[in-house]
């Protein structure tokens, strides 16, 4: 038994945090929403939102997925009033999940000061309901764990990433759903990845997702293998990709998700973050937090973030565990790191030992221990325009559920 105790939501899902989210539905409502969060002065009241005024099905799907995330205990929506975001559909999805939700429309609520005043009262009401959430025993098999890398360097692929892979293998063996992504960084290992798929059909979908990423990044003017990679000891494209890919560990791949899709079983999933169709809206993920938001939209209770150069970010809604790949970076930024994987470079630990440390820390954080970025108040959140087709039937792990 894991010894975990989750927040049991009305829809049956279990969270490891009990967050009240204040969501702006267009940039014009951002200041009001942020002021409400700041005034609440509560580590479990978080700011999320979407800045655009034009409608976008992807943004609605992601906001619905996050508004009904297991770590969410209640949501306050802040609308300016004239933006295109479908606040009724978002409100209805959150309400249907059994979570308390309130809506304030600035144009109808008396402007900034009055909406901030009403918003503070709404947050207090939502908190009071969220605080009544029953607790229930939670097994490791009920966890969804994401992983990304950011601020990578030559050490990422030989310390932090394979150590996360070992932790992923243990988590997956315990029944957790583990999600990796960055198809743009997987060019060259698509056949290796396809060989790990539980069905040939899924293998073909995995290869197609990497081909799509390669085509997309080519249009965006991105190559992948840079001269600096060779100086750092990397010889081939597939070797470089394997460094990022090693975060996924060695378990079979059971399915593919797109942002907002939920894993239907435990096991290892690829999150396909590259938009479908013609290249629109620019880069697939403009920064690391855009990827973290998509992992959270897929139900990630927490995210394992590997970094060599040293990122300092956390996230709204779901905790981020930062695994530092480079011992020099760790010495400079130890106050921002949860795990010192760079010690492997200095003979002060092995990949297996660091993998075990990450696994233990996942359970501790799922049990309520605050990560370093949580304690520092990091609550980054970014969501931009994208377009996706639904996943095909071969992407779901039917053999596992049946």
């Amino acid at each position: 038994m894991s010894g975990l105790t989750g927040f049991l939501r009305a829809d049956g899902r279990k969270g490891i945090r009990n967050v009240v989210a204040v969501a702006y539905l267009v940039e014009c409502a951002h200041h009001v929403a942020r002021t409400i969060v700041t005034k609440s002065d509560d580590a479990d009241v978080h700011l999320i939102g979407f800045p655009g005024c034009y409608p976008n099905a992807y943004a609605l799907k992601v906001m619905q997925a996050i508004g009904t995330h297991p770590n969410i205990g209640g949501v306050l929506l802040i609308s300016l009033g004239c933006e295109s975001f479908n606040r009724e559909a978002l409100r209805a999805a959150i309400a249907a999940s059994g979570r308390p939700v309130e809506v304030l429309v600035i144009q109808e609520s008396g402007g900034t000061a009055e909406t901030v005043r009403k918003g503070a009262l709404a947050v207090a009401r939502l908190k009071a309901v969220a605080d009544q959430t029953p607790r229930a025993p939670m097994d490791v098999s009920e966890l969804v764990i994401g992983t990304i890398c950011g601020g990578s360097d030559g050490t990422s692929g030989i310390t932090a990433n394979p150590a996360v892979g070992r932790a992923f293998d243990r988590l997956g063996a315990a029944g957790a759903a583990c999600v990796f992504e960055e198809t743009g960084e997987l060019v060259g290992c698509e056949t290796i990845m396809a060989d790990r798929a539980i069905t040939p059909e899924l293998g073909r979908e995995l290869e197609a997702s990497v081909r799509k990423a390669e085509a997309y990044y080519t249009v965006m003017g991105y190559g992948s293998f840079a001269p600096g990679n060779a100086e750092g000891g990397l010889t081939t494209q597939e070797e470089k990709s394997m460094g990022a890919y090693s975060k996924s560990g060695s378990a079979p791949i059971v399915g593919i998700l797109k942002p907002g899709d939920q894993p239907v079983s435990g096991g290892l999933y690829l999150l396909d973050v590259v938009p479908d169709g013609e290249v629109r809206f620019g880069f697939p993920n403009i920064s690391d937090n855009a990827e973290i938001v998509e992992l959270i939209a897929c139900g990630a209770h927490l995210t394992l973030f590997t970094t060599g150069r040293g990122s300092v970010v956390g996230s709204a809604v779901s905790p981020v565990i930062k695994v530092c790949a480079n011992p020099e970076t760790y010495r400079k930024l130890s106050g921002d790191m949860d795990v010192d994987a760079g010690r492997i470079m200095e003979g002060r630990g092995t990949l297996d030992e660091v993998g075990d440390e990450i696994f233990d820390l996942v359970l501790a954080v799922a049990g309520g221990q605050r990560t370093v970025s949580e304690a520092l108040g990091h609550q980054e959140f970014i969501l931009t325009y994208k377009a996706f087709d639904p996943i095909g039937p071969a992407c779901l792990p039917l053999r596992r559920v049946s």
Binding site: C149, G150, G151, S152, D153, G154, T155, S156, I158, T159, P162, E182, E185, G188, C189, I192, G221, Y222, G223, S224, F225, A226, P227, A230, G232, G233, L234, T235, T236, Q237, E238, E239, K240, M242, G243, A244, Y245, S246, S250, N285, D288, E291, R309, I344, M345, E346, G347, L351
Partner: protein, 101 residues
């Protein structure tokens, strides 16, 4: 100096520190004198490698040998190539990237 073995199937090891010619390195529990200088983060052969051998790192093929390598010998551009896309092809296009994310 004990290089990193990323996967039990691998035939290359990754250097956690730079090594110098003659320095004692440990491969699978056996001591060996490094045949030449190799920089940190680079690969050395776990055992003798021949032309055409698949290079295995992370338990997966990352290319093939184009020249032999002795145990402990440097494995890089001079004696291996991609089986996927020649690394220099992308550099020659003038496309460069920032940091891998």
């Amino acid at each position: 100096m004990k290089p990193i073995l990323l996967h039990p199937d691998d035939n290359v090891l990754v250097l956690a520190q730079a090594i110098h010619a003659g320095q004692t390195i440990e491969i699978d529990g056996a001591a060996l004198a490094a045949p030449h200088d190799v920089a940190v983060g680079h690969k050395i052969a776990r055992h003798a490698l021949s032309v055409g051998d698949k290079v295995l790192k992370y338990g997966a093929p990352i290319g093939s040998m184009t020249a032999p390598a002795a145990p402990g010998g440097h494995v890089h551009m001079h004696n291996m190539k991609s089986d996927y896309i020649a690394s220099h092809t992308r550099q020659a296009t003038g496309q460069t990237t920032g940091e891998p994310s």
